[in-house]
Symmetry: C3
Subunit: 214 residues, 3 copies
């Protein structure tokens, strides 16, 4: 995957995550500057954490002003179109899932290019993908989607980061395979959300009587 | 602006933000060590985030022990004087605004000196200025001042960071123009707080009937 | 203290902190992936903040895959054994205190080895020790143990980081003195927790009548 394609996918991911942040700001009654800032935090937070961990110069969001365009566009779109479209409140989850799909691909690619070993690259790809949304939910004092036990969130990101590492190792990562991976992650996340696919709870229950967690 | 002036303004900013942290700790019933730690987090957090993003060696707070003096002084002052002065509870907002004014100037100067482009320098200056207070409010489980829609908080920081960049470009930033910028930001923040100056909400309302955000 | 011993103590600290994270996840009703992620955040968060601040290449957790073993082991242990052992709910505090003891030693050693001055090394050691637990409590929306005024939390970490710096200066830090320091910190924390040892509140009360903090 060449640099321009990776940058384009990254910017689109920023846009989707920023939309999720601005939508949450709208629901919470923030003002338009708060919408821009929460959108920026969500859109740029995961990638900034990634670049700080890679430790190779200032993060992309602080060296390439192009990264500021998606959050501005997201805040403007939410400002003018929110009333028309967000009737059911599902859009936030959709945009969040689109960002998740794109970021676990672009985050993993950046990690491998920075010389991290495959295991660490997967971990950093997942961190990039879930980081922005976690910052969003903590800042807005919501229960993090990441820890919602009614569906899966990190599992699709692990699948996407793992697949991306595999495609890179096989030298077959390109626009098509990369986008397909992102779409697969998005689909997995949305299907699990719709059908309440979930994984077992943190505690194995051997018996049913009186086992209430304190 | 030479190095000593920038350092002095930065340390004064740390002191004001640390005061806001220790005051909040006092209100929340924390102990004196919690007061010192929350003061340190607020006073040193924004600058540490800034220096981590600039990525040029350990952050100032971890390489120059002088940065530890303002948080200690703030915790001591709050310990002995809190009962005498904080009758109306407005002091936290005042100290926070003083820190905001100083940090958007010193943060922008550091960003430009580190070689960031003007747009990124403004972004990093604003991040420095609002970062400590955001960490304070999230840690103490308060609604972040940054997202309070009854007045403006980030807008004065943007104005200050923009003006600082302009003064630097024109080679006229010095103790007087820098301090004036900080005072302007402080005044803008306090006036907006007093008179409830605010910006539009995140969502444009085209009609007044029944448009309650979900 | 040679490198292997420092690494071993660090990994054991990661394991204890990860256990505290997975235990909290179990209590909060998270799923097993959430347990693994919260355990990883707590176990690896403090050290990652430390390494990002030291600014010398990617953090240990993202360059040495061995760091992923303790969080996985912790999540598996909690999954199978939680029902059998956590009757009284004190285990979280015990594991957290064990992590605190080990991390204030290993964090300080890493800081000194990275060339920080003694004062900054103590500060970074304490940050490493309290960072993971603070991230845990903020993420799970609990009152941070760090700010609980019924016992002491940061004070033992300061004692441990200070002692470690002293032992390093005297060239007598080794497996035995290092472990002893960690055990001392653990004991101090547990004793303060059991007997409600505490420090004065953030505000000095000169009189008893009507002095209710607003």
């Amino acid at each position: 995957m060449n640099f321009d394609i990776a940058l384009a996918l990254d910017l689109i991911g920023v846009f989707f995550f920023a939309l999720s942040g601005s939508l949450l700001a709208a629901r919470k009654g923030f003002d338009v500057v708060g919408s821009l800032l929460l959108g920026s935090l969500v859109g740029l937070g995961g990638g900034t954490v990634r670049d700080v961990i890679i430790n190779d110069g200032p993060p992309a969001a602080f060296s390439n002003p192009m990264y500021l365009i998606p959050p501005i566009a997201a805040a403007v779109l939410v400002f003018f179109l929110y009333q028309s479209v967000d009737a059911r409140g599902n859009l936030l989850t959709v945009f969040d899932a689109l960002g998740l799909g794109l970021f676990c691909v672009t985050g993993t690619v950046k990690a491998v290019n920075a010389g991290l070993n495959p295991v660490s690259a997967i971990l950093l790809g997942v961190t990039t993908a879930v980081g922005g949304g976690l910052l969003r939910d903590i800042t807005a004092n919501e229960v993090p989607k990441l820890f919602d036990n009614r569906d899966i969130y990190a599992v699709p990101a692990f699948v996407g980061a793992g697949l991306t590492t595999l495609l890179l190792e096989l030298h077959v990562l390109n626009l098509y395979t990369g986008t397909s991976t992102a779409i697969l992650v998005f689909a997995l996340r949305m299907i699990s959300w719709h059908f309440h696919w979930h994984v077992p709870l943190a505690v194995h229950r051997r018996q049913r009587r009186g086992a209430k967690a304190s």
